[in-house]
Symmetry: C2
Subunit: 232 residues, 2 copies
């Protein structure tokens, strides 16, 4: 897709309330426009590009601002303090009741995705199985500085796998990211102190909890679930 097509898609998503997907398209479109403006020599055209870029940047910023506000507003629905060594806290047990076909988009802000992709896979399995109309997952994480190629391969594989199921996985790297947050477009924010990684490894490997995380021992962490305005 060229910049125009991408940005048209961004506007359509924006108008139909698919904010996370709109943001991804705005950001991708802006990137291409930036490259074009650098190559452009005609001053008049350069100006047109600049004004377009500004327009889309402003809208992207508004959406980002709105999304980030979601983590700091809303009413606290449910709060769980998971004790060290506790079991019975699979992703499904924790958030299953907030999953439905109302969820069209999901945002996952998880700074650490390094070698431990099984947790991400498990989380995606849970949301995809329980949100029949899920179309878009935005994943924000930090670069794996030790093995960026490995990380890129893993995320690309997951993206391809999801695309077969007609779900777009859009990942982006923000290397100052610290907080963990999961946003369901149906109007919930899930904040887990340790993000996706609050399970202890199975030791020995072949014990219950290998596949079903309800059997897995947890690390101490707090979980807050907030009700916010519907995003889409």
């Amino acid at each position: 897709m060229n910049a125009k097509e991408i940005l048209m898609k961004a506007v359509v998503c924006d108008q139909t309330g698919r904010l996370l997907q709109a943001l991804a398209y705005y950001q991708d479109g802006i990137k291409i426009l930036m490259d074009l403006v650098n190559e452009e020599t005609d001053v008049g055209r350069k100006k047109v590009y600049h004004s377009r870029i500004k327009e889309y940047l402003d809208r992207a910023e508004q959406i980002k601002e709105r999304i980030s506000r979601f983590g700091h507003s809303g009413s606290l629905l449910h709060s769980v303090s998971i004790e060290d060594g506790a079991t019975g806290y699979s992703y499904h047990t924790l958030i299953g009741k907030y999953l439905s076909n109302e969820v069209k988009e999901v945002l996952i802000e998880e700074p650490y995705l390094v070698e431990r992709y099984q947790n991400l896979i498990n989380f995606l399995e849970v949301i995809i199985k329980n949100c029949a109309d899920l179309k878009f997952v935005r994943l924000v994480t930090k670069t794996d500085t030790k093995n960026p190629a490995n990380q890129m391969t893993a995320l690309d594989n997951i993206k391809t796998d999801l695309s077969v199921r007609e779900i777009i996985l859009h990942f982006t790297f923000e290397d100052t990211l610290h907080d963990r947050k999961i946003l369901l477009s149906s109007g919930y924010v899930i904040k887990i102190g340790r993000g996706l990684h609050f399970y202890k490894p199975n030791n020995p490997r072949y014990t219950l909890g290998m596949c079903d995380y309800d059997f897995r021992k947890c690390l101490q962490t707090d979980v807050d679930i907030l009700r916010i305005k519907k995003v889409s």
Copy 2:
């Protein structure tokens, strides 16, 4: 436990209908008696041992005979032919509706348990989560001739893990075993052509299906579920 204690337990289990556990105790008790009879020099005592051994051996044979008949009788409840590459056939989806707290004992006859213990773990997770009163699992398999120590360690770890949940895992090796069969003491036999191993490996590794087998592609196999008389 000494032979007497073990065999007393066998009789109690036998009388209360816990046939699989009774069988395991009979076999363990007989093994100890056999060693004792070999060491015994007194002819009179040797005779007593021999008659006891015969008595328990006969009962163990009767139980084995009864259990093996279960695979060849009963009414066919449900039959599924899984196509190569199909998905949506996790153990839970396949047999979940036959699991309940009526299931006190489970027999798993699975000749091949070599390096692929994840399937066994996943299966155990499903039955343990859905059979609240499960007390005993009898696992019959073949020796891993390439790496018997590895197999023993894996099965011992699983046994220890289950014992924490007050479930006894009793495994035994029958190197002529060929057929696959799963018996639920509540009165069901599940026969899967490929036994526990009808899932294709996840490739690439990090894709959906890593934990939730409903997303996992299957190999072609047939599944028959039979209703039999309640075992316990």
